[in-house]
């Protein structure tokens, strides 16, 4: 499997999932259990991605400048800062800590 295959297969699957929603009858998925499971799967995947993106380097767990950056992002989200402010603040926080040599 090369990179192009991965990109095309994943992209077509994601696009197909969007289109499916316009084809199926509304009653099929808007039952409470499938809707709840789908919502929670999104939550779990995002939370897992945050953990991995914040703590993992390959297969190792590493605590570095990403941790304070994500905590700052959480604080800003808690006070309802705009999305773009949160992202930029996290990047600047990590970059500055690395520049000062306070974190890897």
């Amino acid at each position: 499997m090369n990179v192009w295959t991965i990109i095309l297969v994943a992209a077509i699957l994601v696009l197909a999932l969007k289109l499916v929603g316009y084809l199926v009858p509304q009653s099929l998925i808007e039952k409470p259990t499938p809707a709840r499971v789908l919502g929670l799967v999104t939550v779990a995947l995002l939370a897992a991605l945050i953990a991995v993106q914040t703590l993992a380097v390959g297969s190792h767990i590493v605590v570095d400048a990403r941790v304070p950056a994500v905590l700052l992002a959480a604080g800003l989200l808690a006070i309802r800062a705009p999305f773009i402010v949160v992202i930029v603040a996290a990047a600047v926080c990590a970059a500055v800590l690395r520049m000062l040599g306070w974190a890897a």
Partner: protein, 230 residues
């Protein structure tokens, strides 16, 4: 009558653009990170054009960055599972979009977190339609242009972690997650999923810990643990 339509349209346009512009700008970060994860400029641009779903795109390049091409199947699975929420959005948007094959196909491609959120926040059908199409199209154009800019920039920048872009990706996922943490059940699932993914990371190939975390959600969801018993 025309007068109230004008006000309504202006409100919907304003809501659309206030969401679309910052999200589109964020495409720069995706482009740069994608190049850093090993994709070239073309692959990065095709991904944004064809997949067009930020969470899934970041998931794909995140897994590929950690595990390389060998992690391809997990990368595809993670991005596809994360894209499954778009199916729910599409079902919700279906009556707003109306009939017509091409219109529904185009709407399908533009069905993402932001276009659905802006549309559902408008009080009238007319406002919902404006909200969906303006947000979707503005992000589609902006996101793809900014992805290309970011990919070209990423080639020049070299090590993106110097600029904190790795932390920015984590913060972006957090930004997508935050509005969903409105009850005990999603909070429990989020914490458990994060712990599962982190604990399994040293033991399993990249991508698999993320998929394992999804199992937590399926269990909690099917049995409705910590749910609102109403």
């Amino acid at each position: 009558m025309a007068r109230s339509n004008d006000v309504e349209d202006t409100t919907a346009w304003r809501a659309s653009l206030s969401v679309a512009i910052p999200v589109a700008l964020y495409g720069v970060s995706f482009g740069a990170l994608s190049v850093a994860s090993g994709l070239d400029v073309w692959q990065t641009s095709v991904l944004s054009l064809l997949m067009f779903s930020g969470g899934s795109q970041f998931a794909l390049i995140g897994v590929l960055a950690a595990g390389g091409v060998a992690a391809g199947p997990s990368a595809i699975a993670a991005s596809t599972l994360l894209g499954a929420r778009n199916t729910l959005y599409a079902i919700r948007m279906s009556p707003v979009i109306g009939r017509g094959f091409w219109r529904r196909a185009a709407a399908g491609h533009l069905t993402i977190d932001e276009s659905t959120a802006v549309a559902t926040s408008q009080p009238t059908l007319r406002g919902q339609r404006i909200g969906f199409w303006v947000t979707g199209l503005a992000i589609f154009i902006g996101w793809n242009l900014m992805t290309l800019a970011g990919a070209l920039l990423g080639d020049l920048l070299g090590d993106v972690s110097r600029y904190g872009l790795d932390a920015a990706a984590a913060a972006a996922f957090l930004g997508l997650l935050w509005p969903r943490l409105t009850a005990l059940q999603p909070v429990v699932v989020a914490v458990a999923a994060a712990v599962v993914a982190a604990v399994l990371t040293p033991w399993l190939p990249p991508g698999i810990p993320i998929l394992a975390a999804a199992v937590v959600a399926i269990l909690v969801g099917v049995f409705d643990w910590w749910g609102r018993r109403s």
